[in-house]
């Protein structure tokens, strides 16, 4: 019998309190009727009403969603290609450089990525006259670039635990390389591609720093709008917005987790059944 690790359990409770008390406090105060964000003035939905009647917030939200959808999709296509290339083709000219370019943006301070993207767009405008002004397109290009490395990393690590012999079998049966990709590789790594897309979507939806540097007039995303609001201090309608975000994400993650657990359980049952039938 092992002793219950009392110290570890205590610190676990403390840690989760540290994670969730600020979020819960913010959620509670979103229902505060007082304009003063720290003094409780009774229960009300007024900040939610204010939020949904604020056209600026709604249009910023729609723009953010649009950018996130496009950048996640393009980043997933490019990132999947990069991940497969890095996992499958171990020898080609410039592989070290390629793998460095995939790893570096993952951990580089965002402010450097932001500054360098902005300077590149400025220099390109000088050299080839494009982009004429910064806005939707420049934000999108910057988001695709830093999301694609996350997809590439996820896909690469999935590919490395993938039984190569089924690809070779398809090759031996006369499939062309792109047919092997379409019929064997992509279906097998599909869960990794999907989680790469979801991660890209949330990263793009949430980004402040790179967007501040690459955006221009007329392209204010939701994080930029919140950023400019909270720089001036705490405002109750942001509490309401935060509460909605946490609830939506929480429910989404819970459903995803439940589906994954169920799929796992079903796979285990299937494997057991198959085993019994064979035996």
């Amino acid at each position: 019998m092992r002793r219950r690790p009392v110290f570890l359990i205590t610190i676990l409770c403390f840690g989760f309190a540290f994670f969730y008390v600020p979020i819960l406090s913010m959620m509670v105060y979103s229902f505060n009727s007082s304009r003063l964000v720290t003094v409780w003035g009774g229960f009300s939905f007024r900040w939610y009403e204010a939020l949904f009647s604020n056209r600026q917030i709604i249009s910023a939200f729609l723009l953010s969603i649009e950018i996130a959808l496009f950048s996640a999709t393009f980043a997933t296509i490019l990132g999947t290609m990069a991940g497969i290339a890095l996992a499958r083709f171990t020898r080609f000219r410039g592989r070290t450089l390629f793998s460095g370019m995939v790893t570096a943006p993952l951990i580089m301070p965002e402010v450097i990525t932001g500054v360098s993207s902005l300077l590149m767009f400025v220099m390109m405008a000088e050299w080839i006259g494009w982009p004429g002004s910064r806005g939707f397109t420049t934000v999108l290009l910057a988001h695709i670039t830093f999301c694609l490395v996350f997809v590439a990393t996820i896909v690469q690590s999935r590919m490395s635990s993938f039984d190569r012999s089924i690809e070779e079998a398809a090759m031996d049966l006369g499939s062309k390389p792109w047919q092997v990709m379409r019929d064997v590789t992509l279906p097998v790594i599909f869960p990794a591609i999907l989680s790469g897309w979801l991660l890209s979507f949330t990263i793009s939806l949430d980004d402040v720093v790179i967007t501040t540097f690459t955006t221009g007039p007329g392209a204010t995303t939701l994080p930029l709008l919140i950023w400019s609001k909270v720089k001036l201090g705490v405002t109750p309608d942001v509490n309401a917005l935060a509460t909605i975000t946490v609830v939506v994400v929480g429910v989404g993650v819970a459903i995803a987790g439940w589906l994954m657990n169920r799929a796992e359980a079903r796979r285990e049952t299937d494997a057991r059944l198959a085993y019994q039938t064979n035996a």
């Binding site: 676990l12 994670f19 720290t38 290339a85 590149m120 540097f213 942001v238």
Partner: protein
């Protein structure tokens, strides 16, 4: 023509496209900007639009920006503040994250999945809103600040009593919020590392009469050093370049380097100087970044070639 393309595509062409397209993309949108920043750091600030130019006999040997950076205490202090704040956040993440990661390996499998999800969940919600949550808690009249204030007043002599804790706009606030937002980055690599350890080693040591703390010190801790380093760098590197947190809760008179870069860009509009500071920050981070990718693969148990 079509036949030739189809032959090319089915032989080598497919592979070339798979490598080539992302390679070219990253070269144009990641590597090229990086060289532009380096070139810009040798430029001169002018009143033109865009506000820089390259001049003189040797346009790429203009070290004015670097001389200013190493001669001006403001820039050096910003680097020191960034590094000390990032070290502080890394240390606190380790102190809280290590026991949490260890505890996660000891709970039952059902609980473990739920708790891991709860660690990751804040990461999926907005980063900005998590920083914002602390702005609400640290303000003068918030319940949290008042609670800390009463605790302080009860413990210290009457002369030291205060009306509220000056938490906002300080390096303390920056370290606290960075610890909060980066804690999952510490817990997850550590958990991945600790989970792979063989429990029979612990049991063998226990059977030989080692006390639990001795087992931790002699068996668990040494084996988790790659995880500690990987997690620590994953916190340290982004924390050192952090822009959002010091802008919202930091001390404006003693800024961190991310904020200096942003201010040089947006307010002073001295782009070459901003590029110079960014290049120096990047050079400082290259070592930690390489160390990270080295220890990351050890912590995950991959074999090094």
């Amino acid at each position: 023509m079509r036949q030739a393309f189809s032959n090319w595509f089915n032989n080598k062409g497919w592979i070339k496209l798979m490598i080539g397209i992302p390679f070219v993309w990253l070269t144009v949108f990641f590597l090229l900007p990086f060289f532009i920043v380096v070139a810009m750091s040798f430029g001169t600030n002018t009143m033109t639009q865009p506000p820089f130019s390259f001049g003189g006999e040797h346009p790429l040997l203009n070290f004015v920006g670097y001389q200013r950076l190493f001669g001006d205490w403001l820039y050096l202090r910003a680097f020191l503040t960034s590094i000390s704040n990032a070290c502080g956040a890394t240390l606190f993440c380790l102190l809280i994250g290590y026991p949490m990661a260890l505890a996660l390996t000891r709970v039952s499998k059902g609980w473990r999945n739920i708790l891991l999800m709860l660690v990751i969940l804040p990461f999926w919600t907005s980063f900005l809103l998590r920083v914002y949550a602390w702005m609400g808690l640290m303000g003068k009249s918030s319940w949290f600040n008042q609670m800390i204030t009463s605790a302080w007043n009860a413990l210290v002599p009457v002369d030291w009593a205060v009306n509220f804790m000056p938490m906002m706009h300080s390096n303390f606030a920056v370290i606290l919020v960075m610890t909060y937002t980066y804690l999952p980055f510490m817990i997850l690599p550590l958990y991945a590392n600790l989970e792979r350890l063989d429990p029979s080693l612990d049991e063998a040591a226990m059977d030989l009469g080692t006390k639990p703390f001795g087992v931790f010190r002699d068996i668990t801790l040494p084996q988790s050093i790659p995880g500690i380093i990987a997690g620590g760098l994953l916190v340290f590197i982004p924390a050192a370049g952090e822009l959002v947190i010091p802008t919202l809760v930091g001390d404006a008179s003693n800024p961190m380097i991310g904020r200096v870069i942003n201010d040089e860009f947006a307010q002073v509009r001295d782009w070459p100087m901003a590029a110079t500071v960014a290049v120096v920050l990047l050079i400082l981070m290259v070592g930690p970044m390489m160390a990270y990718s080295h220890y990351q693969s050890i912590a995950e148990g991959e074999e090094r070639p």
